[in-house]
């Protein structure tokens, strides 16, 4: 089982049956694994706030949900995180590609990277940062924590975690 399949297997083991994704090159393998998993409904979204709406609906329908997106989406979704996910206390694991960190080839990505953790901290969103492959050992516990406390929880996965950005 590769790391993408392990993350998706952890989602499934925690009864996450509905995942929305907005594409990212770094997360392409995870998105493929979500699509391939027989117990997970994969709904690609056009924008991350739309995806969070889909997740909120699925959760209220009785299916645990999650979103996969880039850290740039934190900028897009602050209002949705605050007035939908947090206000109605909806648990939402957010598996995030942390672009703009070490080994990033695209300079513009660093501009959002420097704000990512500050914004998450300002929003009181529990945040975990996967830098080494072994950090993913905690993913199962992070999912259990998310559904225990009914909060959005951010899991930032950087280029080092993914073994570099295609270099």
């Amino acid at each position: 089982m590769n790391i993408s399949e392990k993350l998706v297997a952890d989602f499934a083991a925690n009864d996450v049956g509905f995942i929305t994704t907005v594409p990212c090159k770094q997360l392409a393998g995870v998105i493929d694994a979500v699509e391939a998993h027989p117990d997970i409904r994969h709904i690609p979204a056009n924008k991350e706030d739309e995806g969070m709406g889909l997740c909120a609906g699925a959760f209220m329908g009785g299916t645990r949900s999650a979103i996969i997106m880039q850290n740039t989406a934190i900028g897009v979704t602050i209002n949705t995180l605050v007035t939908l996910i947090q206000y109605y206390r909806i648990p939402l694991p957010m598996l995030i590609s942390y672009r703009g960190e070490l080994r990033e080839p695209v300079a513009c990505q660093a501009e959002m990277a420097v704000h990512t953790k500050a914004l998450l901290a300002q929003l009181n969103i529990p945040t975990y940062h996967f830098h080494k492959l072994s950090d993913a050992d905690e993913f199962d516990a992070i999912l259990k924590y998310t559904f225990m406390c009914n909060k959005p929880v951010a899991i930032l996965t950087d280029a080092s975690f993914w073994g570099g950005y295609g270099e």
Binding site: R41, E50, G53, L54, G57, A58, S65, R89
Partner: protein, 184 residues
């Protein structure tokens, strides 16, 4: 007819149905006209009623009616391709199209000008798209429920708002009683 008159007219049809209602005055009007546990009032987050409704419809078998507005659909136009490509036959998107942003002072929307949301929905791939006059909303909505087919209804009405109180119910209470109705 204005939106609140349409909501009064379809209240008997909405009775007992799962309804996800658009932010602002639409939710205030629905709350005042026909509050029920199976109404989900979106208190923030303009544009997401259709997305919440689709997610809910995909996750469970009961009929879901998302009551949206023209301005809110324009805010989240990406929702229409997602609806078209992830068909839930228990999902009805009812767009009450008054050609204006009602909750913010009736500023005109592009839907009241050149843009026809029923044409946009069809171009996005939605299969059962019906545009109707305000007074035909009840029969159109009932037929959509009975059809068991995913349907997008664009009902054209006049701009205007009824004066209704703000919803003071706690969001967690709204969600909890709504989820109780989903499970019932």
């Amino acid at each position: 007819m204005i939106r609140s008159e349409i909501l009064k007219h379809i209240a008997p049809i909405l009775d007992g149905q799962l309804a996800v209602c658009n932010i602002g005055i639409p939710s205030q009007e629905l709350h005042a006209i026909h509050d029920q546990a199976s109404n989900f009032y979106m208190l923030g987050t303009m544009g997401l009623a259709s997305s919440i409704g689709l997610g809910l419809a995909l996750a469970q078998p009961k009929t879901v009616i998302a009551i949206d507005g023209d301005g809110s659909v324009l805010t989240n136009l990406g929702t229409l391709p997602t609806i078209a490509n992830n068909v839930a036959n228990n999902f009805i998107l009812l767009i009450i199209d008054n050609g204006s942003y009602g909750s913010t002072g009736d500023q005109p929307t592009y839907a009241g000008m050149k843009t026809k949301l029923e044409d946009v929905a069809r171009a996005c791939g939605c299969e059962n798209v019906i545009a109707c006059a305000a007074e035909d909303t009840g029969t159109t909505l009932q037929a959509a429920i009975d059809s068991g087919k995913q349907t997008v209804i664009v009902c054209k009405c006049e701009s205007g708002n009824a004066k209704m109180p703000v919803i003071t119910m706690d969001p967690v209470t709204i969600r909890d009683r709504f989820m109780g109705a989903v499970k019932a």
